[in-house]
Symmetry: C2
DNA sequence: AAAATGAACGTTAGCGTTAACGTTATTTGA
DNA sequence: TCAAATAACGTTAACGCTAACGTTCATTTT
């Protein structure tokens, strides 16, 4: 425990096994060039000596690493946790480690992290969304490192892209609301520019109501401590300001906050007000009244994204851009007919 | 864009600036040995050339890295996200990157990750809880790398430790329940051995009721898809099996699932049944009925842990073990008096 | 039987950076 | 005024690993 005999290196293993260091290297990496017998012997000795390879030396020699950089806006909420989970499992079993960043929705923070990450010569980089600093894009375009943009969708990604069309999602919600006869829509979100995807969904919703009904979509963007509180406060704000007949939320958690606000004010849902969430989160599974929401396949997205990126890393040709399907889940928090 | 001129190395910057590579190295690292004038000049040129230092080479030369390994059971739920958030912020501003792992509560998965991580010569390693494979402990004890165990608490950590006393938390809940006159307690958790901390809390609760009332604590451990559903299903199971007068849950999310189950069955809380959560999660902030729960300072724990580990990394003497305070928050889901 | 093949292993030369020590100019002190 | 101290650089030798190429020797081919 206190004996600080320097950790064994490949050379020590080689000496102890009476072979050259290259044989040890080959044995450990599992590549050709050593007989099965010797390989087993070497591995046994390496284990005995508690040999731990030095990834820094390896990466320096081969000019790349087994690290994958993953940048997310936040760990809060299930959304990115789900995506991350799907990705991590895939990468993990392929022998990659994840270097993770949270930007708190700041492209500047993202840039400074990308800079730091590039110094590790990672095998791949994953960014959330499409909203990056120009310099981030330049840096990544200039580097040979595969880049995946996840969660959002575009036909012109930095490199490759797996996600959903948030504008379309907004339209789906709008179409559904219009078809049920709603006329005074509102939206609860976080401060503008914070979550670009949510803004895109709102845009889709807006355009549908403008076209079909010629009406505006009111919006509230309170700065509360968490999603639930944001939903609650935003709902209160909208109810005080006007008389929406349907409120759509950035996600199910906010929608739940909204439901609580209605309950507190004695409003009944969906008779007095329609409520629409987004993402079909776990919470919804136990609510007594099924929430109208949009299902997003986040875990699948993570797995798909990771798989595509791995393919790209291994030089297998991949699609530039892969959109994932959306499904509107009609629930009991909106009217069932006009 | 397509011109694949190899990325600039320190040597190229040196040549372009007419100085030795050591001057560039010193300028970039911000250490003594270059005049202010030259340093500015060198930094300007480095920026122009889009020079990105090679961390692998650096780490090989200095035999350590700016990487911190963080192992968590899961990203699901707010708990570890909060801890992680506190830690990441602290590490980030100190120039460290986070290599993150999720074990899904498997000590074997933790071990294989620790092995991989050690090959990067990280500056520090963080593990969640105290429940590790013996080999994990051996490996880490043998290495000179500082190790932080977070979330749980012990006086004999691998290296240092910041967390809460979960057994004590269980006792607190037990004391509170007893003081309010409850007599038939139950507990909803995940399968045994899955979450050791939850098991410790249950043990604390059990011991209090055994001592004070001479009664058992029933438990339900369903394997549902998510915390909310687990709470719901576990509650249903307990209500079918017997007639508990108070149910304690692994966390607030499960408690909410339990509340929903009660609502569905027409049971009123707290008249017919007491409900106690854990962790004081965001959800609770919008519930119409304040949840009885235990506040855990997770973000603070992350910050404190990270700070302690950084101190340890920098050779500053630190306390072996730092317990964080717990506070029982009486709510409206338990009786207010006997 | 000689030549060609190929498996199994070894040698060498980096990969890009920094620690440690050397060198040169410049300032300081008595 | 001249040695001594100091600041500002430069040179060299690792750090631990792997790609690329060499060598050896048992097989196979002709």
């Amino acid at each position: 425990m206190s004996k600080k005999h320097h950790p064994a290196k490949i050379e020590d293993v080689a000496a102890r096994a009476n072979v050259s260091i290259m044989s040890v290297s080959r044995a450990i990496r599992g590549v050709d060039g050593v007989s099965e017998k010797k390989r087993r012997e070497i591995l046994r000795i390496a284990r005995e000596m508690k040999y731990v390879p030095n990834s820094n030396a390896r990466s320096l020699a081969v000019a790349n690493s087994n690290l994958i950089g993953i940048s997310l806006p936040t760990f809060a909420g299930e959304v990115f946790a789900d995506i991350l989970n799907g990705m991590r499992r895939t990468f993990d079993s392929a022998g990659y480690s994840s270097v993770i960043d949270t930007t708190e929705y700041s492209p500047e923070a993202e840039l400074s992290w990308v800079r730091r990450l590039l110094s590790w010569q990672p095998a791949g980089i994953i960014l959330t969304g499409l909203d990056h600093q120009p310099e981030t894009v330049d840096l990544l375009r200039a580097s040979p490192i595969p880049v995946l943009e996840i969660w959002d969708h575009t036909d012109t990604p930095i490199d490759i892209c797996v996600g959903i069309d948030h504008y379309r999602a907004g339209q789906m919600i709008g179409d559904h609301a219009v078809s049920l006869g709603y006329r005074r829509p509102a939206f609860v979100s976080t401060p503008r520019g914070h979550d670009t995807r949510a803004d895109n969904r709102l845009a889709g919703l807006r355009d549908v109501f403008a076209r079909e009904r010629g009406t505006e979509v009111l919006s509230a963007r309170p700065q509360s401590g968490n999603s639930f509180a944001t939903g609650f406060d935003g709902t209160a704000e909208l109810l005080d300001a006007g008389a929406p007949d349907i409120i759509c939320y950035l996600n199910d958690h906010m929608a739940f906050g909204g439901l609580m606000c209605c309950q507190m004010r004695g409003l009944s849902v969906p008779q007095d007000l329609g409520i629409v969430g987004f993402n079909q989160l776990d919470l919804a599974s136990v609510l007594p009244r099924k929430l109208t929401t949009v299902r997003t396949l986040r875990r699948l997205m993570g797995i798909t994204g990771a798989t595509q990126l791995l393919a790209r890393i291994n030089g297998v040709p991949t699609e530039k851009s892969k959109p994932l399907p959306l499904e509107l889940i009609p629930g009991e928090t909106t009217r069932t007919q006009i």
